[in-house]
Structures are given as structure tokens and as C-alpha cells.
């Protein structure tokens, strides 16, 4: 079976033509990619699509009240909405360093969510 995808690995956005197995839906081959990342993306997108998760959590005692966070690795796409929802109940205390783990093993994916920036204590 043939399908079209857009590669999200870089801003170029190559249009990918993907061949998949009629029966299992599994990835067979890809055309239209300008680089190796495109074929890696296509295979992942067909077999187990994943996305980075970025969101914010509450922070106490910093000059801002929101702390941006990011998953260390891409999450299975199907878990994304649930993962963002899980961010709603998290509150951290300043100071925070970029890369500090904010939530471990988010929604059972085995992937940690980390702070995307440093935020010092407001009093510093």
C-alpha cells in the first residue's frame, strides 16, 4: 500500500512516499527523502509513530510562574495527550536547572521529562 507523509526531522519538510505491507501495515520502503533522517522518520512513523512532548508545569518561587519542560526523547504519539495532561498536576520549586528531571517515566513510557530552562529563586 502507498501512503504520503511529511518528514518533520528538519524544516525542509520532504514529502515522503511510503510503501507499506498490505496485510500488516508494516513499513517496506520510502521515496522522496533528501537524507537518511527521512527514511528513519518514515519507518518510525509507519511502525511506531512518536513525537517530542513539550509543555509547561507550575513553578513556585521563581520570577515566572510557568516552567517549560520537554521529554528527553520522543514519546509514542498515542501517549502525547495523556502526557501533557499529566503536566497539569506538577508543581516544582525554584531554583531549577535546565535538564533537571521534572517527571520520571512519564505515563509509563520509560521516558523522563526535563526542565527546558533554568529558573533561579526570585530572591536571588
Amino acid at each position: 500500500m502507498e501512503g504520503k507523509l511529511i518528514c518533520i526531522s528538519c524544516p525542509r519538510g520532504c514529502e515522503l512516499l511510503v510503501q507499506t505491507d498490505e496485510r500488516t501495515g508494516a513499513f517496506i520502503s520510502v521515496e522522496g527523502n533528501a537524507c537518511i533522517r527521512g527514511s528513519l522518520f518514515a519507518e518510525a512513523e509507519v511502525n511506531h509513530p512518536e513525537r517530542m512532548m513539550t509543555s509547561v508545569v507550575s513553578i513556585r518561587g521563581a520570577k515566572h510562574c510557568m516552567l517549560p519542560v520537554i521529554s528527553r526523547r520522543p514519546l509514542p504519539k498515542g501517549k502525547l495527550v495523556e502526557a501533557v495532561r499529566a503536566m497539569r498536576s506538577i508543581t516544582v520549586e525554584a531554583p531549577i536547572r535546565e535538564g533537571d528531571v521534572i517527571a520520571e517515566d512519564i505515563v509509563g513510557t520509560g521516558i523522563d521529562v526535563v526542565a527546558a530552562r533554568s529558573l533561579s529563586c526570585r530572591c536571588d
Binding site: V56, V57, S58, I59, R60, G61, C65, M66, M87, R88, T91, R122, C123
Partner: protein, 599 residues
């Protein structure tokens, strides 16, 4: 007379299809009823009837597509207000905090009178006073012999006193009546004749070269130029705010978000009013309710006029755009019936202003801007400023003129109710006439209440708020040292500091909505239209008033800026460091808090 009127009706509508009826009341007021095919017909007919001999005024109950201008009592709000009981009591109740209501309040605050002003908007200057071109007309465009003409010329002359006492921006730089070709050759002459009859001072014809010298951005050379040097320019909001603040300083109580829904009259004597927040007792009601004044009159049982809303759209341009400084009127393009129509001028803050146009509408609350409105405004403006594009407009908005069918001011004591003064039909040049109207109502108030005694401690001066960007570096330095909030620039388009915004929130009439702050300090009025400073202003309003995020409004009860929060927010209160100045203006919190609850 009925016969004559019926003939008139037949000339306007096919009465076999649209049975329109005219009733003549004992007092000479004609009531029109029935269905008309379109609103233009109703408008023309009512104007024509109003011109007929012996007609005192016209009440228009004609309907069109199920809509009409007839007063319908808001029964649920009346019931609600009565149930809430009395929340204030005064000698004088002024309905409406526009330039007229606020002007009267300030004039009467000289006397030992207890005065309240009731305003249904969440700020003063919310209706007619909000959207006009800020021109203080000289008085040469009004029909001689009318009350309008008299008060326009008198009011214009009184503005110097108002401007020096109340310290609002005021530029008396004149205006022009122009003719370009044969078609409009009479226009300056009409202004000349009306001006002479109305005793407009200083008017003169000047040479087109002198004109072009005065207005360097104008390229098209006119044939004849009438110059009226007494024309001045203000910001209608600023005048109203200054008046209200000075009135408040002198003891007048302003209740915002308070809509008058009924007038209590017992045995022909006014006892007070009913509002959606409870009742207010009082001896004298002054009806300065702008476009709704006919409805307030109906509540008092003395409606003898209908106010028909006439919408006008104004376009504002970036300060850097070219354009004349003074108003230029008289091109055939802009000639409109019943209004001087819009020209091209500049606001006191320096933005070119085009318009307004004039469209008769049936809905008094319709402030929408339609493509055809801007077509008109752009068309008339580009005669003088070719090359200006529609996309150069940084803001466009609509205002409503509250016109009666006589097209004159109605300022008089009620002939049927004791304790009620009409101040209605105050359309253009109402802003120019406002000081004279206030004086006239002062006289009528004395007629109603007997001799008025003056306060010893009346203070006519309202000090101008700080405008940081206009100060010298030395003054700026001094100010920031005194209060660091002036060193925090919130609005980058107009260079407005946090200190100025906090001042606006803490002044006698607290500004606690986005639009109220915009009107006072121009934050969000610049090129970014609030994109950058909006979030900052929200924060400041919350901090100063104690409101929750979703309680902060743009303008009007349901005009929330944000709908809530997406996460728990921990900010100012949660930190050991306190900001340069944190404090809640108690009055503000109470006022807005209370009002929100009742809303």
C-alpha cells in the same frame, strides 16, 4: 393637523400595504406607529413630520423587521432592583457619565448638594462621548436660531477655562471651510453666513496660499478658504474623565456598572430611580443618558421625543502618516444630511483621524464597522490625502449620535413631572457645547431645588496625570527615584510606564479595565494594539485590585481577557521579595469586586 400628517405619510409609504398611523398628543407631540418597509422610510418620514408646523417633537414607534425604537421596560431588572433595596440616596441623581453628565456633575459639585452619577458602563465616557472626532466646533455649521447654535458658540468660548482647570490636552488651532470647484463654491459662504448669524468670533477668508502654508501636508489647492480660528481639538474621553475626576474630588459619587431601569414618580414628583443594583433615592433626576435618554424619559412618564441612533465610523492612522492638523470641511464628497459629516484632521495625540460617516440605524447598541463605512471614510479622506491606504488604519470604531427628529438639543425641566430635567439629543456639536450645557443645567437645577449655596472648599483644579514620555530626562530621573515603577516601561509603542498605569488605577475614577486604561494612558492604543503590553497590564490590574485573572475585563461585563488558568499559578504573593510597590487600592477592590459579584 392629523389630515396634513396623513397626507405626508401617504407621500412616504404605500399605506394600503403599510398602515402607518400618526397620533397628535395634546402637547403637540406626534406619535408614529405601524410597520414600514425599510428604516430609511421611517427616518425620512419622522424627520419630515418633525418639520411640520406646531409639531413639538416626534415619538417614532414605527417598526421594521420586528424592530423599533419603542421603549420596552426591563421588567426582570426592575423587579431585581426593587428587591435589592436602597443602596444610595442623594439630592441629585445624574443618569449617565458621559461628557454631559460628568460636566453637569462637576458644575453642581460647587454647591452644597449630595450628588450621585449612575452609569451603566464600566467606565465613564462609554457612550456618545466615547467615539467622536474630538472637535470643538466654532459654531458656523449649525442652523442659526437653534439651541444648538447658541450653546455651541458659548461652549466653545468656555473651553479655555475648562482646559486650564482640568488640564486636559487642548489645541485651539482653528479649522477650514473649503471650496474646490463650482459644485461646492457655496460651502465656505454657508459657513460664513451661519457663523456671522451665530456670532462666531474671528472667522475670515484667507488666501489658498496662506492655507497651504498652514497645512504643509495638503497638496490640493482649494479655490476659497474660510478660516475659523476658534475651532479647537480635544480627546472626548480625556475631557469626560477629567470632569468626572474633578467631580469625584469634590464629593460626587460615581456608581459604575449601574443601569437605571425605572424612575420612581409619586403624585407627579420624582422620588428616585431603580437600577439593576438596587434603588437610589433622590429629589432631582437629571437625564443625561445619551442615546438612551428617551427611554429614561419614558420611565419618568415624560417621553416626548425619540432618539434615533445615527452611527458614525472613525478611522485612526499611525502618527507618522501625513495629513492636515486642522479639520477641513466642505468638500461635496462629505456633505451629508443632518450632520457636518466627517473630515480629515488629527487627534490631540497626533494621529490622523478620518471620518465619521453617518448611517441611520435601528439598534442603539450596534457599534460594528462594515466595509461600506470604511469605503466612505476612505473615499472622503483620500480627496485630501491621496496615497493613504485602508491598511494604514490602526484602529477603526463606531460611535452613535443621539439625535431627535427636530435635530436640536432638548434641555428643559419636565413639564409633567417635578424633579426631572431632560438633557437629551446632545449630538454634535455636543462636545463643544458641553460647558454651556452644564451652566444651563445649573440654572435649571436652581429652578427645581431653590437657591443653591456654594461650598467653601470647592476645588476646580484636576491635576494632570504624569506622562512619563513627555518629561525631560531630569524630570524622568527624579520621578523614577521617587517611584521606581515609572522606570518600568510597559507599553513600548507609546512609551508608557507601569507607574502611569498604576496612577490610572488609583485615580478618583479608578480605571480597572483594559479599555479604561487605554483611554487614560494610551497603553494598548499603539501600533501593536496590546499584543505586547496586554499580558503586563492584566498582571498589574490583578495586583492592584485583587481581581482574579478571569475577572479582568476589556470593556463590559462579559469582556474577559482570559477565561481562566491552565495550571496553578504561584506569583507575587508567594515570594519573599515584594515588588517595588504592591498594594491594593481599597476602594478599587471593593468597587470592582462588589460589581463583579452583582454582575
Amino acid at each position: 393637523m392629523v389630515k396634513r400628517l396623513n397626507k405626508l405619510i401617504a407621500r412616504h409609504v404605500d399605506t394600503s400595504q403599510f398602515p402607518v398611523k400618526a397620533t397628535v398628543r395634546k402637547d403637540g407631540v406626534v406619535v408614529l406607529e405601524g410597520e414600514v418597509p425599510d428604516w430609511k422610510t421611517a427616518d425620512e418620514l419622522a424627520h419630515r413630520v418633525a418639520k411640520s408646523k406646531k409639531v413639538r417633537n416626534v415619538i417614532n414607534h414605527l417598526s421594521c423587521d420586528g424592530k423599533s425604537l419603542a421603549y420596552i421596560p426591563k421588567k426582570d431588572l426592575i423587579e431585581q432592583g426593587r428587591a435589592l433595596g436602597t443602596f444610595d440616596e442623594a439630592d441629585v441623581i445624574i443618569v449617565g457619565a458621559g461628557v454631559i453628565g460628568s460636566g453637569i456633575a462637576r458644575e453642581l459639585s460647587k454647591y452644597n448638594l449630595d450628588i450621585v452619577v449612575l452609569e451603566k458602563g464600566d467606565d465613564v465616557s462609554q457612550g456618545v462621548s466615547k467615539a467622536n472626532n474630538g472637535m470643538i466646533h466654532p459654531g458656523n455649521a449649525v442652523i442659526p436660531g437653534t439651541l444648538k447654535a447658541k450653546l455651541n458658540v458659548e461652549g466653545n468660548a468656555l473651553y479655555d477655562d475648562w482646559a486650564s482647570d482640568l488640564q486636559f490636552e487642548f489645541k485651539r488651532i482653528g479649522s477650514f471651510g473649503l471650496s474646490y470647484d463650482k459644485k461646492d463654491r457655496y460651502t465656505p459662504w454657508l459657513g460664513w453666513i451661519a457663523g456671522r448669524l451665530n456670532k462666531v468670533p474671528g472667522m475670515r477668508f484667507i488666501s489658498p496660499d496662506v492655507f497651504l502654508e498652514m497645512e504643509k501636508d495638503v497638496e490640493v489647492r482649494p479655490r476659497r478658504v474660510l478660516y475659523a480660528p476658534t475651532t479647537a481639538y480635544v480627546d472626548g474621553f480625556e475631557v469626560t474623565i477629567a470632569l468626572a475626576e474633578n467631580a469625584a474630588m469634590n464629593g460626587v459619587r460615581f456608581h459604575l456598572l449601574t443601569e437605571v431601569v425605572d424612575v420612581d414618580v409619586e403624585e407627579g414628583v420624582v422620588r428616585g430611580v431603580v437600577t439593576d443594583r438596587g434603588t437610589v433615592k433622590g429629589k432631582l433626576v437629571i437625564n443625561a443618558a445619551g442615546v438612551f435618554a428617551d427611554e429614561i424619559a419614558a420611565m419618568a412618564g415624560d417621553q416626548f421625543y425619540t432618539l434615533h441612533p445615527r452611527k458614525g465610523v472613525i478611522a485612526i492612522f499611525d502618527k507618522e502618516k501625513k495629513g492636515p492638523d486642522r479639520s477641513m470641511n466642505g468638500r461635496p464628497y462629505v456633505y451629508q444630511k443632518n450632520t457636518k459629516g466627517g473630515g480629515v484632521q488629527r487627534t490631540v495625540s497626533g494621529n490622523p483621524l478620518w471620518g465619521p460617516n453617518a448611517v441611520e440605524i435601528i439598534d442603539k447598541t450596534d457599534l460594528s464597522v462594515q466595509p461600506e463605512d470604511l469605503d466612505y471614510v476612505m473615499g472622503s479622506g483620500s480627496v485630501v490625502c491621496p496615497g493613504t491606504k485602508r491598511t494604514d488604519i490602526i484602529a477603526s470604531f463606531a460611535g452613535i449620535r443621539p439625535a431627535d427628529y427636530k435635530e436640536d438639543f432638548i434641555i428643559e425641566r419636565s413639564r409633567v413631572v417635578k424633579g426631572f430635567i431632560h438633557v437629551a439629543g446632545i449630538q454634535s456639536p455636543g462636545l463643544a457645547a458641553a460647558p454651556a450645557i452644564a451652566k444651563m443645567v445649573e440654572g435649571l437645577t436652581a429652578d427645581e431645588l431653590g437657591e443653591l449655596t456654594r461650598k467653601d472648599d470647592w476645588n476646580p483644579i484636576r491635576e494632570k496625570p504624569v506622562v512619563f514620555s513627555k518629561l525631560s530626562p531630569e524630570e524622568q530621573e527624579r520621578l523614577v527615584n521617587e517611584n521606581p515603577l515609572y522606570g518600568h516601561i510597559v507599553c513600548r509603542c507609546e512609551t508608557i510606564s507601569e507607574g502611569e498605569i498604576v496612577d490610572a488605577i488609583r485615580r478618583p475614577i479608578p480605571a480597572v479595565t483594559f479599555d479604561a486604561i487605554k483611554r487614560r494612558v494610551r497603553a494598548t492604543a499603539g501600533r501593536c494594539q496590546g499584543g505586547f503590553c496586554g499580558p503586563r497590564i492584566l498582571e498589574i490590574i490583578m495586583r492592584e485590585t485583587g481581581l482574579r485573572p478571569e475577572e479582568v475585563r476589556k470593556q463590559g461585563k462579559d469582556s474577559y481577557i482570559v477565561a481562566g488558568t491552565i495550571r496553578d499559578r504561584y506569583d507575587a504573593a508567594d515570594c519573599c521579595e515584594t515588588r517595588a510597590s504592591v498594594g491594593i487600592a481599597d476602594g478599587v477592590a471593593q468597587e470592582t469586586g462588589a460589581h463583579h459579584e452583582s454582575a
